[in-house]
């Protein structure tokens, strides 16, 4: 933690404190398979719950509702329909894109849960719920959720 100007008492009423460090979180076996498949084959994977039969996307080790370990892997998407969206105008240092940018909640083909990701290559006012989308994969992929760059409208969505 480098607190270069720690406690520089700008005024004795307020003291600025800063923390800079990098956290590293294990994705676990299931999410690691999801990410390596994304990176190496540009395929989006879900896992199926043996009890309720739902295909959970992105892939989960267990079904949160049935508390059962998932067994089979199912490829989903890369296309799907937009369920809800927002366009962010308020900047924050934690955002991966400069504003304005859009988020979408997308029901990918063959998935039983929705997928949350960024939207791109579309005019803000053309975004409408139900529109048909397809995943656009990043050029250099490092096994992370941003290996999918964003989802864009398919050709027929543009007609």
């Amino acid at each position: 933690m480098r607190e270069t100007e720690l406690g520089k008492a700008t005024s004795e009423r307020f003291v600025p404190i800063e923390v800079r460090l990098t956290l590293s979180y294990a994705a676990g076996e299931t999410a690691s398979t999801f990410f390596t498949t994304l990176r190496d084959h540009c395929r989006i994977m879900g896992t199926k719950c043996p009890q309720c039969g739902q295909v959970l996307v992105p892939a989960r080790q267990f079904c949160p509702k049935c508390f059962m370990t998932t067994t089979d892997w199912v490829e989903v998407g890369p296309r799907g329909n937009l369920i809800s969206h927002t366009v962010v105008y308020h900047h924050g240092p934690h955002q991966p894109r400069t504003v304005p940018f859009a988020y979408g909640i997308i029901r990918l083909d063959r998935a039983d849960t929705n997928f949350v990701h960024l939207l791109g290559e579309c005019e803000i006012d053309t975004i409408h719920n139900g529109m048909r989308l397809e995943a656009v994969f990043a050029n250099n992929r490092g096994a992370g959720i941003l290996d999918i760059a964003y989802f864009r409208p398919t050709e027929e969505a543009m007609l």
Binding site: M1, R2, E3, T4, L6, G7, K8, A9, E12, R13, F14, V15, P16, I17, E18, V19, R20, L21, T22, L23, S24, Y25, A26, A27, G28, E29, A31, S32, T33, F35, T36, P93, A143, G144
Partner: protein, 151 residues
């Protein structure tokens, strides 16, 4: 066993800490006059450093400010051989370095601070020490660079 992935996320966060009534006066007095202020509980008469709103033992508000000297007595000590990040410089502190629990003359609580002495044979509880101040004061106890043993 397939490849296991780790997700790296950089954290860069800032907080604006309010110093409040007591600490703002402690900072001002230390920075401007080089004096260390404690505060005394009207009930148990204990003088606390750092100064604060209430005495936890008596649940009484404290208002009597007390000047505390920059000399004191060692109540506990250690010599550090394991580098730890110095929060002021942000660099690992060169080892070995001494640390002590010091009851400053005029205070009833101790402060943990750095000690120049690193020879364990010379260290024991009860030794008298004196503060060695940094040239430039900013109003924090780290304005004292370390303590040195007197005698």
């Amino acid at each position: 066993m397939n490849e296991l992935i780790n997700i790296e996320i950089p954290m860069a966060l800032r907080w604006q800490f309010g110093t409040g009534r007591h600490f703002s006066r402690f900072i001002q007095t230390l920075r401007n006059e080089g004096k260390i202020l404690g505060i005394r509980c009207p009930q148990c008469q204990r003088v606390y450093i750092p100064p604060r709103l209430i005495c936890g033992n008596c649940y009484r508000e404290m208002a009597e400010w007390v000047d505390v000297k920059d000399t004191g007595v060692i109540q506990g000590y250690t010599v550090y051989y394991h580098p730890i990040l110095d929060p002021v410089t942000g660099e690992p502190r060169p080892i070995p370095y001494g640390m002590a629990l010091i009851k400053l003359d005029g205070a009833d609580t101790t402060i943990n601070h750095y000690l120049s002495e690193t020879d364990l044979a010379k260290l024991r509880i009860g030794l008298k020490v004196r503060a060695v101040w940094r040239s430039q004061r900013r109003g924090f106890i780290s304005d004292i660079s370390h303590f040195e043993v007197i005698q």
